[in-house]
Structure formats: structure tokens, C-alpha cells
């Protein structure tokens, strides 16, 4: 038995490590490369109804403690992404998570339907961290628990039995309440967290924000404690499996998210900070850790930092 195997919403992942959306996620070959590096599941770049070139560059800006990104939801469109997913599935047994977004609530449902008409990913992930074009302040859907719940229902209705994960942002009144709303609306899993902020960095010489989009989401090492806390709260709030994501670079970081209650662990920026070896290294560490603690699976570690443990079992 593979001690690292986990099950997220009925889908078996051979390792808890998941490629986070938006990183090396545009093509079948690139997803395959990450799967070969040791990911237990891979998530595509979020795709929407139409092809988008995204923002001009700089759209990804490393700084000392992580990076800012404002890629602007560049994506080839949902049909093209379906072709990449199909190619990936033909080439790899690793489950693929298709990430979708919309600019209105209805677009989420349509994106799901159009994608599923062409391909059947292992999971659908709903990226609600995109600006809601019909909101007054252009706020992301993620800031509004009711909107997240409505989108969850819409997508579930078109998902044809494919399990649905909702990817939450910390930038909301309460991530636990949002998770609850999504769970009530039928979500099968929660992914948390998306990048934080947004943030801005200014070049003092040219006196301008450096990102072409001025602001961008914060990811990487800087946000690890925020992700751990988010997973902790969500684990106490809902009995769903959690793909804990944010700031994982070292093996201990992944373990922290699992102890906080995550079933799987997303890695994005860590690929930049530590290279693709990050997957293999963390897998090896977790295998060792289980052996040293005399455990046969990650089950005993999941949520183990809670005293008392959160009420319900969250895996499966």
C-alpha cells in the first residue's frame, strides 16, 4: 500500500501534493512534467469561456518573501483547455483537476458545461477569486459567501457527477462561513487559499507600481501562516476534504497544512522557490515521517493539531 495515497471527494491521489492552479498549468505536457515530478494531482490554469491573453507584463513579480501575480486570467479558453486535459489523461494516470472561472455567476455554469461536454476531469475546481464584473466595486465573488454558494450550485447542476471543489480566498468576512455556505450548496471539497491581498510593489526610481496591473495576489512563503489558519478554520467548519494551499516550500509546511486539517496540499510558488524537485522531496519526507511515527497513512495526521479534533471525518 502507498502510504501517501489520499482520497479527495472519492478521487484517489497517489500523493497528497497537488499542483496549484495557474502554475505550469497551460498544457498537457507541462502538467505531465509536474505529475512526473511527483504530484498526486495536477490542476490546470483557470479557464473561462473565452481565450484571454491576460495582462501585460510584469505580471509575475518575485520579491524577498514570495511573489505577486496579476496574470489576468490568461487562458486559451475552455475548449482548448479540454483538449489539453484529454491529452494529459491519455498520457498520465494522475488525476487532473480542471479549474474554471467566470465573469458572471452564469458563466461558471456554462464553462463547466462546455468543458464537460468535451472531457471528464477527475475534479472541477471553481476559482471564485476573479472579479465579479457585475459587482459595484469589482469585488471578487470570493468576498461574498452567498455568491460562492450560488456558483457552487450552478456548477454542481452542470457537473454531471464530477466532484466540485471550491477555491476560496482569505479576502472575505469569514473563510469558515464561506466554506459552510459552499458545503451547503453541494461543494465536494474546498481548496484554500488563493493568493492574498492583492499587494503592490513600487519602483522608487521610476515611481510606479511595477506590475502592469498595479496590484497582484501575494503567494509563496509569506502566506504560509495565513493558509494554515484558513485550513484550520475550514476543517472545524465543514466535513469536506480540503486541498490546503499557500506558501508551501518546505516539507514541514505541507505537514503543517495536513495537521491543520488538509487532505491534500497544493503547491504553486514553491516550484519557483525550490524547483520541481519540491514534489519529490516532500513526498520522500512524508514517507519517512510516517515510517518514523509508525503510521501506515496520512489519516492519523490529518487535523491532528486540533485538540479536540474537529467533529467529522473529512477525507473521502
Amino acid at each position: 500500500m502507498n502510504p501517501l495515497a489520499v482520497t479527495v471527494a472519492g478521487v484517489a491521489f497517489p500523493s497528497p501534493l497537488v499542483l496549484a492552479s495557474g502554475v505550469m498549468g497551460l498544457s498537457a505536457s507541462s502538467l505531465k512534467r509536474v505529475a512526473d515530478a511527483g504530484a498526486g494531482a495536477v490542476t490546470t490554469k483557470s479557464c473561462g469561456l473565452e481565450e484571454r491573453k491576460g495582462h501585460p507584463c510584469p505580471s509575475i513579480l518575485p520579491f524577498e518573501h514570495g511573489l505577486l501575480n496579476a496574470v489576468g486570467l490568461a487562458n486559451p479558453g475552455v475548449e482548448e483547455m479540454a483538449r489539453e486535459i484529454a491529452e494529459f489523461q491519455a498520457r498520465s494516470p494522475i488525476p487532473v483537476i480542471a479549474s474554471i472561472f467566470g465573469r458572471t455567476e452564469a458563466e461558471f455554469g456554462e464553462a463547466a458545461a462546455r468543458l464537460l461536454a468535451l472531457v471528464r476531469p477527475a475534479l472541477l475546481e471553481i476559482n471564485v477569486s476573479c472579479p465579479n464584473v457585475s459587482s459595484e466595486f469589482g469585488q471578487p465573488f470570493a468576498a461574498d459567501a452567498a455568491a460562492c454558494a450560488r456558483i457552487t450550485s450552478l456548477v454542481k447542476a452542470r457537473a454531471d457527477g464530477v466532484p466540485v471543489a471550491v477555491k476560496l480566498s482569505l479576502m472575505c468576512p469569514s473563510i469558515a462561513q464561506t466554506a459552510k455556505a459552499c458545503a451547503a450548496a453541494g461543494a465536494d471539497a474546498i481548496t484554500a487559499i488563493n493568493s492574498v491581498g492583492p499587494g503592490m510593489l513600487i519602483d522608487p526610481h521610476v515611481r510606479r507600481p511595477i506590475l502592469a496591473n498595479q496590484v497582484g495576489g501575494l503567494s509563496g512563503g509569506a502566506i504560509l501562516p495565513l493558509a494554515v489558519r484558513a485550513v484550520w478554520e475550514i476543517a472545524r467548519a465543514v466535513p469536506l476534504p480540503i486541498i490546503g494551499t499557500g506558501g508551501v516550500t518546505r516539507p514541514e509546511d505541507a505537514l503543517q497544512l495536513i495537521l491543520a486539517g488538509a487532505t491534500a496540499v497544493g503547491i504553486g510558488t514553491g516550484i519557483y522557490t525550490c524547483g520541481l524537485e519540491v514534489f519529490g522531496r516532500i513526498n520522500a519526507f512524508l514517507t519517512d515521517w510516517l515510517a518514523r511515527e509508525g503510521l501506515r497513512s496520512l489519516d492519523a495526521l490529518r487535523g491532528a493539531a486540533h485538540h479536540p479534533p474537529p467533529a467529522e471525518a473529512r477525507h473521502g
Binding site: 502554475v23 497551460l26 490554469k45 491576460g54 507584463c57 510584469p58 526610481h205 511595477i210 502592469a212
Partner: protein, 270 residues
């Protein structure tokens, strides 16, 4: 961290030909030949460029105007600040008895390679090709350069014809075969070099280009179909072994959305 954006004043602008200039920048980073940097023109965009030369205090990039960004970049004056990140990717191996083959602006990274080989006292031959003289930077330097052989399609300088013709000559003229073939230029030329090198069983390292955004291996924009090599990290210089893992040779390149345009059907088809 060199990947962090830093802005620097342009120290000097060397105009070569129309739409072809070299920008001289403070040496805030060290690049190996073949490695590239990204250049940010504040308020405009950020794009990748190979380092084409350096000295103790400067690095140089050589830019050919092909679209809005490069045109705007070539309007920059000395003193104006632009942003710099890098160096990114992996460069050419420094090998004695190298054969350098460049096409047009592809001669920019080879210039730094030639400089490094000269600095280390390593022998090399540099076949410089272009469609016409007006496509070549540092033309008079190249004409005086002892290791350089010039070719232009229109014969405006050097020998007339393709640099690939010079290739056969170079191989037959030299008593010992080159120990490494280093190429940079338009992709069809590079694929021809690869083919020829395979024929002669010569090791090659070729510099490719794809649409790039991050330069640090995250956005996935420059991943090559097949093995998923990230050209910005594992490239832009590829070995034969790396090239073999790629399945997209000859296909149109993915654009900024990640989509690959449909291949235009050959015009001759009825």
C-alpha cells in the same frame, strides 16, 4: 535576489542599422552566454532579451524592432530608466573548437559567447548569417573579427547565400570537426542546423524562443510540448537530447493565452 525587479538608467544606446540598437546597461547582474534577462519599460510591458556582451561595468542587450514593445524600447534615450530581471535560463557550454552559427538577431547571444570564448583563449569559428547587411548589429566589428565568416542572402556583405552553405565549407575546410555547434536564429534555420549536426554526429546547443511572461518557470507560458521543458528555465539553450523530447517542432507557437494557433494549411493544397 536577482529575479527581483531593479530599474537602471540606460548608459548608452548604440544605433546599428535602422531598427537595430544595442542598449548598454549597468552590470547589476552577470549573465552566461545564451542566458537572457527581461526588460521592463515602465508603463509599457516587459519582454525577454539575450545578453549580447558585457564588460567590467556594463551589460549589453541588442534589440531588433519587430513590434510595439521593441519599437518603444528603441526610442529610449540614455538616462532613461528601464527595469531588469535575470539572468534566466541556462547558457551555452564553453567548449574549445566551437562552431557558432547565427542568423540575424540570433547573433546577439552568440556575440557574448564569442567574447567569453576569446576571453578564455578557446578557439572557435563564427558563421554570421543574415538576410541582408541591414539585419546585422556590430557589422564593422564582425567584418574585422578574425573568427567570423559573414553570409547574407542578398550578398550585401560577406559571401552571398545562406549561412548553412558556410557550414558545409567550415566542416570540410577544418582538419578537425568542431567539438560543439552553437546556434541562434530563426527556428527554421535552427532546425536545419540540428539536422546537419545530426548528419555529422556533432553535438549541438541551440537557442530557441517562445512567448514568455515570468522567466522563472511558473506561468507555464514557455513550456514545450512533449516533455514540458520550460524554455525559460531549462532553456533557452537546448541540447540535442532536450530537443528530442520536444514534439512541437514546426508547429506554430503558443501565444500569450497559452493557445497554439491552428497550423496554416500549406498554400499549395487545393
Amino acid at each position: 535576489m536577482a529575479d527581483v525587479m531593479q530599474t537602471v538608467p540606460i548608459l548608452e544606446v548604440i544605433a546599428h542599422q535602422a531598427g537595430l540598437k544595442t542598449l548598454v546597461l549597468p552590470r547589476i547582474l552577470d549573465a552566461a552566454p545564451g542566458q537572457f534577462v527581461t526588460i521592463w519599460v515602465p508603463g509599457v510591458d516587459e519582454k525577454p532579451f539575450a545578453v549580447s556582451g558585457d564588460d567590467l561595468e556594463t551589460i549589453q542587450i541588442t534589440v531588433k524592432a519587430v513590434g510595439p514593445f521593441t519599437r518603444r524600447l528603441l526610442e529610449c534615450r540614455p538616462g532613461e530608466r528601464i527595469g531588469l530581471r535575470g539572468p534566466f535560463g541556462r547558457g551555452f557550454t564553453l567548449m574549445p573548437d566551437s562552431l557558432l552559427i547565427g542568423g540575424g538577431i540570433g547573433n546577439a547571444p552568440l556575440r557574448l559567447l564569442a567574447q567569453r570564448l576569446t576571453e578564455r583563449g578557446l578557439r572557435y569559428t563564427w558563421l554570421v548569417g543574415a538576410r541582408r547587411a541591414a539585419d546585422l548589429p556590430f557589422l564593422s566589428d564582425l567584418q574585422r573579427h578574425p573568427a567570423v565568416r559573414l553570409f547574407t542572402d542578398d550578398g550585401s556583405v560577406g559571401r552571398p547565400g545562406s549561412v548553412m552553405a558556410g557550414w558545409t565549407d567550415a566542416l570540410t575546410a577544418s582538419p578537425t570537426p568542431p567539438r560543439l555547434v552553437c546556434g541562434a536564429g530563426p527556428e527554421p534555420m535552427l532546425l536545419a542546423v540540428r539536422e546537419a549536426a545530426r548528419l555529422h554526429r556533432l553535438p549541438v546547443e541551440l537557442s530557441f524562443e517562445r512567448y514568455m511572461k515570468c522567466g522563472i518557470g511558473l506561468c507555464g507560458q514557455c513550456c514545450l510540448d512533449g516533455s514540458g521543458l520550460r524554455l525559460c528555465v531549462e532553456g533557452p539553450i537546448l541540447t540535442e537530447e532536450q530537443m528530442q523530447s520536444v514534439t512541437e517542432w514546426g508547429l506554430p507557437h503558443r501565444g500569450p493565452s497559452g493557445r497554439r494557433p491552428a497550423a496554416t494549411p500549406p498554400a499549395s493544397r487545393p
